[in-house]
């Protein structure tokens, strides 16, 4: 409580309160009021996270801005919040994207506006809760609760096959979560506490560690998603409205990787080392095989969805090679991928709003009618393929570097993404943007307006700044990463 008020609680509950206010504006007659309240809520939500950055002590790996209150005394459960260098950045990312999606949905969403905006605000607060929770049950509550708004977003405002996608999304993630719940109950049984930080110090035998690792793996690998648990993601992405896809790609996938960092690795370090071969193999399969799958897509959203899986493979690869390059690279890749994939989904959304098709064949020659848009799209496509100077390069390069230190062939396999990534992204870009005007739809396109330029410009600047000068980010996470690596090196048996 550095500023005299519980900062993290405000960060979590302010968007939720605004979400309820937005809901209270009622039906679509007050749509513009709902939009304004939502924007105010999202911007305030972003502003209150700024003290987290400015007041953050970069020298320590300890939890900061800690709040602790009794919650359920019978099970020794606390309302315990706190952030370290890893979770703080993710909260900033989330608050930033809440503003983006509210603006992105400003004109496009015309039916049930209040509910749409409220879902995003409430979800934003819940995701902040996931990153800030230091009590396992509190974490679990936020973790599960954020499924509900996402389920509704996909199901109500999604594409033609939205019902299937929404239910698949929910059940897939619920399966993993329930197994995680069993693991948490087991840890409670062992330690008598639901404190995540207590679990980090809890000695556990190898069998127990492996079982716990597998249970957590089911929860987090579904969210990341890792091959072969990834099949829900293309469906969910394709059917979700633009804002939904942006949040899914930019934030929700990070929740899975965050879970590995906060739970699997420090709680079961020996099992993590023991099963690292599996994690690395699955990650490399995701990077290479899913990259090839992306090449074969004819639907733009599906292509970016597969590209997300492939890029998230880098994150898990970086985490499970256990060196500083890999770990920091993975974290930078998480943040960068948030911006890049979010931006790409926004670009696709811009085109979809005008043409109502996501098929690559329905486009061609967009550069002729939308030059400004094409320029932004170009930058994000380059960032997605890992061009030096963009944020996409830094994380991937560090992970490859870390992988080569462990095993040359790991690095080699991972590096193929620089080829495949460029191939699928730029090939799609070429087919959509370049060439002669393909059909009447494209001929009648009008370029992006001020609202969309604002969104694109903000994202473009971030992508470039992160690519050219990533130091402020790595500085913040440095202490926490080192601490985690030291912790991982000690056996718990």
């Amino acid at each position: 409580m550095i500023f005299g008020y519980p900062l993290l609680s405000v960060v979590i509950w302010l968007p939720i309160v605004f979400g309820v206010l937005v809901l209270a504006t009622g039906n679509d007659r007050n749509a513009s009021l709902a939009r304004i309240i939502a924007l105010v809520g999202a911007v305030l939500g972003l502003l209150v996270t700024i003290p987290l950055y400015t007041g953050f002590d970069r020298m320590t790996s300890a939890m900061q801005f800690v709040e602790m209150k009794n919650w359920i005394t019978q099970f020794n459960i606390h309302y315990h919040l706190g952030v370290d260098g890893i979770s703080m950045l993710l909260i900033l990312l989330n608050a930033f994207f809440t503003v983006i999606v509210v603006i992105a949905g400003w004109k496009v969403i015309e039916k049930r506006v209040a509910q749409y905006m409220a879902c995003f605000l409430i979800m934003s607060g819940l995701i902040n809760g996931v990153f800030a929770a230091l009590d396992a049950v509190l974490f679990y509550v936020f973790w599960e609760a954020m499924l509900i708004p996402m389920f509704l977003i996909i199901g109500v405002w999604g594409g033609p096959n939205r019902v299937y996608a929404a239910i698949k999304f929910f059940l897939y993630t619920l399966l993993g979560s329930l197994l995680m719940l069993v693991a948490l109950l087991y840890l409670y049984f062992q330690s008598g506490s639901f404190e995540i930080l207590d679990y980090h110090q809890l000695p556990l035998g190898m069998t127990a560690q492996i079982l716990i690792f597998i249970a957590f793996f089911m929860a987090f690998a579904v969210k990341v998603p890792m091959f072969p648990l990834h099949t829900w993601l293309p469906d969910a992405h394709v059917e979700a409205p633009t804002g939904g896809s942006v949040v899914l790609a930019a934030i929700m996938l990070k929740v899975g990787a965050y879970g590995f960092i906060r739970f699997s690795m420090p709680i079961a370090p020996d099992a993590s080392h023991e099963l690292a071969w599996l994690m690395v193999t699955l990650s490399l399969i995701a990077v290479v095989y899913i990259g090839l799958v992306a090449l074969a897509q004819s639907d733009m959203k599906k292509l970016v969805a597969y590209s997300s899986i492939s890029h998230m493979g880098f994150v898990t690869l970086g985490l499970f090679i256990f060196n500083a390059y890999g770990m920091e690279g993975a974290l930078l890749q998480m943040i960068s991928h948030g911006f890049v994939s979010g931006a790409l989904f926004l670009c696709i959304g811009v085109m979809y709003d005008r043409v109502h098709s996501r098929q690559i064949v329905d486009y061609g020659g967009v550069a002729n009618t939308m030059p400004v848009f094409a320029a932004f799209f170009m930058l994000f496509a380059m960032a997605n393929s890992g061009l030096p100077g963009t944020s996409g390069f830094v994380g991937e390069f560090m992970v490859i570097l870390g992988a080569v230190k462990v095993n040359f062939w790991y690095g080699f396999a991972a590096a193929t993404t620089l080829v495949f990534g460029a191939a699928y992204t730029l090939w799609m870009y070429k087919r959509v943007v370049f060439g002669a005007v393909a059909n009447d739809h494209v001929r009648h396109l009008h370029d992006i307006g001020a609202r969309e330029i604002l969104l694109m410009a903000v994202l473009a600047i971030t992508v470039l700044v992160m690519g050219l000068y990533p130091l402020p980010l790595s500085e913040i996470m440095h202490a926490s990463v080192n601490d985690l690596l030291v912790h991982m090196a000690r056996s718990k048996i």
């Binding site: 009622g26 039906n27 009794n70 919650w71 359920i72 005394t73 019978q74 099970f75 049930r112 509910q115 049950v137 679990y140 509550v141 599960e144 609760a145 499924l147 509900i148 389920f151 509704l152 199901g155 109500v156 939205r162 019902v163 929404a166 239910i167 929910f170 059940l171 619920l174 399966l175 329930l178 197994l179 719940l181 069993v182 109950l185 087991y186 409670y188 049984f189």
Partner: protein, 483 residues
């Protein structure tokens, strides 16, 4: 006078019985068609009972009528919840019943007699009292289900309910007589002491126990003794289905506690295994069969079966944590079920039963508020936080895991994943589909208000579950540790 003042732990029951007589007489003298006076009198009676129960509460355990009757914290808490649930049931169902011409004096007095039966069950400390309470409850229930005389379905389901209920009572009675043969007593405390001292006849006891468990499983509707549940739920008028599905489950929980835990705790090794089979089968069959239902009352019936499996999982853990989690589960289950059936009745109108799943289509477009309340109830039944249903499942799973039942816990987790599907389907119908009719909903103000309170309670208890959990834990602890 001094004798009457020693009866104070039973004042609530005595008051209720007197009021039933008063209400019957008053009702026969009043010409009113809508029974407003009798209805208000019934609600006042329930309120009076709650006040008396609170006023006569003492710390500690009081026995009465030479040990036939017990008053402890658990019974007080369960009784208060019973009054609340019966009273809510009446508010929810009043306009539904008036429209169908079922809101009669008999209905109100039978509701109160069945409440009396539940109170007696909750406070019984002798097998005879337990059985009397159970029969008072059951006989009133049979009549309530059969109240819609001109409906063939309702009559048929009343018949089924009666025959199977009578059989279950027979099972129980047979089991009780075996236990009597094995221990020489019907008093719960004495039975427990005799078995603990190793003076009982083991073969008779185990034999009797099997019958008791079967009878209890019948009453709870646990698989494989569940056949009557879907038919009765489906056939009975929705108001009566709501009644069967709610308050009596609290009494049934007390029944399980008094018989299995207080009397037969030393035989836990035998009954825990039986309950494990019942629990897994109930969760499995209930959740899987519920998916195939198109009628929401039948779906709730199977969902009830699954919930009873969870409740049994808490009981079979055999620890204080387990019993209190089962009690918490029972309370939460009643709260959710009241809301669910309340919603069905709210959407029904004259000549139309909203008991088909498709009647919920597009509810979000017709009434966003009601859809949101139903959403909360459905996610709570599925056990998704931040609704209170999660903590109910959480505490049961925790207790079972602490007792070492890892396999059962994993089975329960998998079945609740399957169960999530059909609750999600209702949310899907309400939010994702277009409505089939755009007819304006007529929402009675009292039921709408109550359903809102009900839905928000599910959410608020989910955010602040501490108090209710602590009350359940304290009740169980006091009843079991301070005999």
């Amino acid at each position: 006078m001094s004798y009457i003042s020693t009866l104070f732990p039973a004042y609530a029951e005595i008051f209720l019985l007197c009021m039933i007589c008063v209400i019957m007489i008053v009702d026969s003298l009043l010409p009113s068609q809508t029974r407003t006076v009798t209805y208000l009198l019934t609600q006042v009676t329930l309120l009076g009972c709650s006040l008396i129960t609170v006023a006569t509460h003492t710390t500690g355990v009081a026995h009465l009528f030479t040990g036939m009757f017990v008053d402890d914290l658990m019974s007080d808490v369960l009784k208060l919840l019973t009054y609340l649930s019966v009273s809510m049931m009446l508010v929810y169902s009043r306009s539904y019943l008036i429209v169908r011409g079922l809101f009669t004096g008999e209905l109100l007095s039978l509701t109160l007699t069945s409440t009396l039966g539940m109170l007696v069950m909750i406070s019984a400390s002798n097998f005879v009292t337990l059985y009397i309470g159970l029969e008072v409850l059951a006989l009133s229930m049979y009549a309530l289900v059969a109240l819609q005389r001109d409906s063939a379905v309702a009559t048929e389901s009343a018949m089924k309910y009666f025959i199977l209920g009578a059989m279950a009572s027979g099972f129980l009675l047979y089991g009780m007589s075996m236990i009597y043969g094995g221990t020489g007593s019907l008093d719960i405390q004495t039975i427990s002491n005799v078995i603990k001292a190793g003076q009982g006849n083991d073969m008779l006891l185990v034999f009797g126990l099997a019958f008791l468990v079967a009878g209890l499983a019948f009453k709870l509707g646990a698989v494989p003794f569940h056949m009557w549940v879907p038919d009765v739920y489906h056939g009975a008028p929705t108001a009566m289905t709501m009644f069967i599905g709610t308050a009596p489950k609290l009494a049934a929980f007390a029944f399980v506690m008094r018989i299995l835990v207080e009397a037969l705790q030393p035989m836990m090794i035998h009954w825990a295994g039986m309950l494990a089979v019942l629990a897994v089968l109930s969760m499995g069959v209930g959740n899987i069969t519920a998916i195939a239902q198109t009628n929401i009352k039948r779906m709730f019936a199977y969902s009830t079966i699954a919930h009873m499996g969870f409740l049994l999982l808490g009981v079979l853990s055999g620890t204080l944590d387990g019993y209190s989690s089962a009690m918490f589960y029972a309370v939460i289950y009643v709260l959710m079920t009241l809301g669910g059936f309340g919603m069905i009745m709210l959407l029904s109108r004259e000549g139309f039963e909203a008991d088909n799943l498709n009647d919920f289509k597009g509810l979000n477009q017709r009434s966003p508020w009601l859809a949101f309340m139903m959403l909360l109830l459905m996610f709570s039944m599925a056990g998704v936080p931040p609704t209170v249903g999660f903590y109910a499942k959480f505490s049961v799973l925790n207790a079972a895991l602490q007792a070492g039942h890892l396999t059962l816990v994993i089975a329960a987790v998998i079945f609740s994943l399957i169960g999530a599907f059909y609750y999600l389907r209702i949310v899907k119908l309400m939010y994702f589909d277009a409505p089939e009719s755009h007819e304006k909903l007529y929402m009675q103000p009292d039921s709408t208000l109550l359903v809102s309170i009900n839905g928000l309670a599910v959410l608020m208890l989910g955010i602040m579950p501490n108090t209710l959990m602590a009350i359940c834990a304290a009740s169980v602890q006091q009843s079991l540790l301070l005999p």
